[in-house]
């Protein structure tokens, strides 16, 4: 590990200033991802700015919805009464991830910015365009069972590993950030980027911007939202494929739908095409299958992950069927 200095930020402005002054500094949240990557030599900051003392832990009701502080732990969010009542998909998604010990440490901000689990990214002896732009992608000719089937490029086929973010994508969440140039808001679906030619740039957050909160807008049907995660063991494994879904069904018809996929792309994948198929259609098996088809249209599997395409389709159908059943108004 490289030597680094450690600073404890006293307030938001202090934290932002420290990272903005060009010292190759990084914010330290729970450290469950950043510190691991530092040990592996993947991240080499010269300074860690510990933000854990900042007053960003609150989870509160606002007129528009819920506001979750960036330093609320994954456990606190998942187990919070308001979250469980109003946005169950978020609670389910977080609880499907990592382990209790990790969730106790992990923060909302850190979870948004956790980096891919691509094996080749995490081992500095491999070429990797994300780690060393232009060095090549070892996963494309390599072992790519866990990699992307949607939205990848010939530069990078990594997936974003977060469960939480898939739920946030389905919930139209807004990320609130503070930077040297002031505060701004970034819709979650625009927060992460596809790899394109610059897989090293993973989000639209600037390096010196601090995530301060995530807003969840009120939505009546989010109360019946659900998360489904498919993985290689019963717990404590990243998603092969996951689905977050919410439906507003009235008299057997779908008024509105939200659908997002995890484990399939470089970002939490909001399936807008599928939502179009769903909206206005009857809540039945045929519709759900059509939605699944739409969501996976254009999927481009790699040598070892073709199974993900069919798996994702089936997961979508399963979850939509279940959500429709549980929704007032029921399935047609």
């Amino acid at each position: 590990m490289n030597p680094f200095t450690y600073k404890r930020a006293t307030d938001e402005a202090d934290a932002v200033r420290e990272v903005a002054n060009g010292k190759n500094a990084k914010f330290l949240g729970g450290g469950t991802n950043l510190v691991d990557l530092m040990k592996m030599g993947v991240e080499t900051p010269d300074e860690l700015v510990d933000i854990n003392r900042l007053a960003l832990k609150r989870i509160e009701q606002t007129p528009q919805g819920l506001r979750i502080g960036a330093l609320a732990s994954n456990s606190e969010v998942a187990n919070h009464r308001l979250v469980r009542e109003q946005f169950p998909v978020l609670s389910e998604a977080i609880l499907a991830g990592a382990s209790p010990q990790l969730r106790n440490m992990a923060t909302v901000g850190g979870n948004l910015l956790q980096r891919t689990r691509c094996y080749y990214f995490m081992d500095t002896s491999f070429p990797c365009n994300k780690r060393v732009p232009g060095s090549g992608c070892s996963a494309i000719p390599g072992f790519n069972r866990i990699h992307a089937i949607l939205g990848a490029s010939d530069k990078c086929i990594a997936v974003h590993p977060s469960d939480m973010c898939v739920a946030l994508a389905a919930l139209d969440a807004i990320v609130r950030v503070a930077g040297p140039a002031g505060a701004r808001q970034i819709p979650l679906v625009d927060f992460h980027r596809l790899p394109g030619d610059t897989p090293q740039i993973e989000t639209n957050l600037r390096p010196d911007e601090l995530i301060v909160a995530v807003d969840l807008p009120n939505s009546p049907f989010a109360r019946r939202s659900r998360y489904l995660k498919i993985r290689d063991r019963a717990q404590y494994a990243f998603a092969l494929v996951s689905v977050a879904a919410a439906l507003d069904v009235q008299q057997g018809r779908i008024n509105a739908a939200r659908l997002a996929l995890g484990g399939v792309a470089h970002k939490p994948w909001r399936a807008l095409d599928a939502e179009k198929v769903l909206t206005g259609a009857r809540a039945d098996a045929q519709t759900f299958r059509a939605a699944a088809e739409a969501a996976l249209k254009g999927a481009q599997p790699q040598q070892h992950n073709a199974f993900k395409v069919e798996l994702a389709r089936r997961a979508i159908v399963r979850l939509l069927t279940e959500v429709a059943h549980e929704t007032k108004g029921g399935a047609a």
Binding site: M1, N2, P3, G41, R117, Y119, Y120, D123, S125, F126, S138, P141, G142, F143, R145, I230, D232, R233, A234, Q235, Y236, A237, L240, F307, E310, L311, R314, A315, V317, R318
Partner: protein, 756 residues
């Protein structure tokens, strides 16, 4: 022989503590942090060593640039092949086929595998050492690696050594005739991937030189082996080396041989002239401490319509390293498990640019029985026979390989009891015929077998003047319960309660014990402890009998029994005295007994094996192919059960490892570069609690006097044998899809398109 006939009284004399589910005597130490593992012995002036691994899998080192690393404050030494002290090679164990990497580290620039140690950095603190290690620059001349068994199969070769003591090609009877006579055949290929042991405790060594005397604290299964290896490597007399290992945090075989980090720690300590602590990383453990080799197994079974086997062929490939020969002996158990006149085994090796494979829990049986027991299941379906029935039709009443009678074999009872416990009768024979709501339900079974291995070993028992006793042998507790079981064995003979017996192990200053491998420890060391306890007690009895002031004066030795810390007349308990009285009056501090257990394996009159029957129930999601084990029953004949709790725990651990093997464990090599891609516990999956259902383990009562003087047959490994096959067979029963390539991940089921 029935279980009844084999039963022995739990204890002829003493407290009857053997067999009891005694809690671990070291449990409190462990949960309070008082148990000291190899890396936890403090030393003044301790320096830290970090190993650097090769980032290529094949080629040569062109050179090092250590200039930046040397500038890190606190750096004491950077040792590479360019400046390493001369280290002598060690003859490895076993003689036939190596299992420890015979190659001496840091003696040449040649790279054989990814992660191979190429340098040792020593510094004052761990952080400085890690920083300096990160700054060492290495240039290589890289060659394409042999990293894919499939791609290299054309270069397969016959092993030079033997395969589990047998020639690599063996034939009994004639399998061609046997197959010609068969009405039904199974002819399939089964594959098992590379797996890693992954004990919780990483390999760790502290080396302390005092002149040419070396003390080495090592996480090991074999203290005397470490001593021998270090003496050879550094050219010092064996007496100059002392190896200490009080607790081993799991091993499963990877700490059974002496890997090169041990000599590198000692070399670093010598160069730096300081005590040196070296703890390997999880990543290094994936490259340098062996693994279970990948196998490709071709099994052909021929059978009559009644299910009688007319031929068994078990042949195939496993990999080894390019510089050592280790054969994963997957055909081992097939020699003896089923009665069949015509049997052929043949194994070939493929050399890859990987570290040398080694023993991993039930080496050979674990991978081999997955194939054989899957094939038997396939045969049962073809014959429309119940899988247990098929096994009973081919039940071997004597060992078909050696023709010797079994010492004891309660396998029929294992099947019967297992079937009962598990509710096998409720199984509907047809695949896909059982459901649990949305899920497909499947029930499968397999046989387990593991041979009795024992090694010569010694122990000393000292009865103290305060009436307590000390038991000593340089054996090991890998978390298996050695401390506890040896306590019980001593208690039984000495007639003392467990709290009056202290067991001291893991130190080459103590009587010699061999490697704690092959499920041998309790049989070997336990027998020595029993012998030593008897010898010590006999001396105590002599002392009492010879003392005119003793109430036992003049009594004949066979009239005296020991219990509750007293010697007394068998016929009259009131006439006796405590050990303390005997010793105090005689003015003795202690009486000591020693015992060396020898096993005459040359003139064996019996074939000795532990047996078992494994039953798994799985639930498969018909849409996704996700498999979860929902119930598991394992019934075992391990000879005499020394401790019901630790014995059952061994079986449970084995079954859990078998579930992992069946469903998730797999080490993946990047076939382009030869680098390991999933070398940590986030990406190499082992079962978590949620993957493990309630495990129902039954240990049958038995006493196998031919297996070992204490009646035990060995418990450490048999629990994993057959467990993966039971799961795989259950998956077939649930889905109608036969997966012959482990692990059974959902893509292999989904890919078949046979699910809903």
């Amino acid at each position: 022989m029935s279980a009844k006939q084999n039963q022995r009284p739990a204890s002829k004399q003493g407290s009857g503590v053997v067999g009891q589910p005694l809690n671990r005597v070291d449990g409190r130490l462990k949960v309070t942090g008082g148990a000291r593992f190899a890396a936890e012995f403090p030393h003044d002036q301790m320096a830290y060593a970090v190993l650097i691994g090769s980032t290529i899998a094949n080629g040569r080192i062109k050179g090092f640039d250590t200039s930046a690393a040397k500038r890190v404050p606190g750096v004491l030494a950077i040792i590479t092949h360019e400046n390493a002290p001369k280290l002598r090679p060690v003859a490895t164990n076993p003689a036939e086929g190596d299992a420890a990497g015979r190659r001496v580290p840091l003696q040449s620039p040649v790279i054989y595998y990814h992660g191979q140690y190429i340098a040792v950095v020593v510094a004052e603190t761990l952080e400085q050492t890690q920083q300096a290690a990160a700054l060492v620059r290495v240039s290589y001349d890289e060659q394409p690696p042999a990293a894919d068994m499939e791609r290299e199969r054309g270069k397969a070769y016959p092993p030079k050594g033997k395969v589990a003591g047998k020639p690599a090609d063996t034939m009994r009877g004639n399998t061609d005739t046997g197959l010609a006579a068969a009405n039904v055949r199974v002819d399939e290929i089964y594959r098992t991937p590379t797996e890693h042991h992954n004990p919780m405790e990483p390999h760790a060594t502290i080396a302390v030189w005092d002149g040419d005397k070396l003390t080495i604290y090592d996480a090991t299964q074999y203290t005397y082996g470490v001593r021998h290896a270090m003496a050879t490597t550094f050219g010092v007399p064996e007496e100059n080396v002392r190896c200490i290992c009080k607790f081993t945090g799991g091993a499963f075989g990877c700490k059974g041989t002496v890997w090169s980090h041990v000599s590198l720690a000692a070399a670093a300590a010598r160069v730096a002239r300081r005590p040196v602590k070296l703890v390997t990383t999880r990543q290094q453990m994936f490259s340098n401490m062996g693994h279970r080799a990948e196998t490709e197994q071709h099994v052909v079974l021929g059978a009559t319509r009644a299910g009688k086997l007319t031929a068994i062929v078990h042949e195939g490939l496993s990999h080894t390293s390019t510089f050592d020969e280790y054969v994963e002996p997957f055909s081992k158990a097939t020699h003896m498990l089923y009665a069949c006149d015509n049997f052929k085994a043949s194994q070939r090796l493929v050399a890859l640019n990987v570290g040398t494979p080694t023993y991993m829990r039930a080496p050979g049986e674990t991978s081999g029985m997955f194939a054989l027991e899957s094939a038997l299941d396939e045969l049962a379906y073809k014959l429309n026979l119940d899988p247990i029935q098929l096994r009973l039709v081919n039940y071997a009443d004597t060992d078909p390989d050696t023709k010797l009678p079994w010492s004891t074999k309660l396998l029929k009872e294992c099947y019967r009891t297992g079937a009962e416990h598990f509710g096998w009768a409720r199984r509907k024979p047809a695949p896909r015929s059982m459901r649990d709501g949305r899920y497909l339900l499947g029930l499968g079974m397999a046989t387990a077998v593991y041979p009795v291995n024992h090694f010569p070993s010694s122990a000393r028992v000292r009865i103290q003047s305060d009436g307590s006793a000390i038991v000593e042998s340089s054996t090991h507790d890998l978390g298996t319960g050695t401390y506890t079981v040896l306590t019980q064995i001593a208690c039984e003979t000495l007639g003392l309660p467990p709290e009056r017996v202290e067991v001291i192990i893991g130190d080459t200053n103590l009587p010699k014990a061999m490697v704690s491998g092959g499920s041998s420890t309790v049989m070997s060391v336990g027998s020595s402890v029993q012998g030593a306890a008897r010898a010590a007690l006999a001396k105590l009895v002599e002392t009492a009998r010879a003392d005119t002031r003793s109430p036992l004066y003049g009594a004949s030795a066979d009239q005296i029994v020991a219990s509750d810390g007293r010697l007394a007349l068998k016929s009259n308990d009131a006439r006796g005295e405590t050990y303390r009285d005997t010793l105090a009056r005689a003015g003795m501090k202690e009486v000591e007994g020693s015992y060396d257990t020898e096993f005459n394996d040359k003139e064996k009159k019996f074939s000795s094996h532990a047996f078992g029957a494994q039953f798994a129930e799985v639930r498969v999601d018909p849409d996704f192919g996700e498999v979860r084990v929902t119930r598991f029953t394992g019934v075992f004949d391990i000879g005499r059960v020394m401790n019901m709790k630790t014995g059952q725990s061994q079986m449970k651990g084995g079954i859990i490892m078998g579930i992992g093997m069946a469903l998730m464990e797999e080490t993946v090599l990047d076939t382009n570069s030869g680098r390991l891609v999933n070398r940590d516990l986030a990406e190499y999956h082992v079962p978590v609690h949620a993957d493990v259902p309630q495990l129902d383990v039954v240990l049958l009562e038995n006493f196998d006097e031919h297996a070992s003087p204490i009646g035990a047959k060995g418990a450490g490994e048999i629990g994993i044998v057959g467990a993966a096959a039971a799961v795989a067979n259950a998956v077939y029963h649930a889905t109608g899809v036969r997966v012959r390539e482990l692990p059974i991940t959902l893509d292999k089921l989904l890919g078949k398109g046979a699910l809903a």
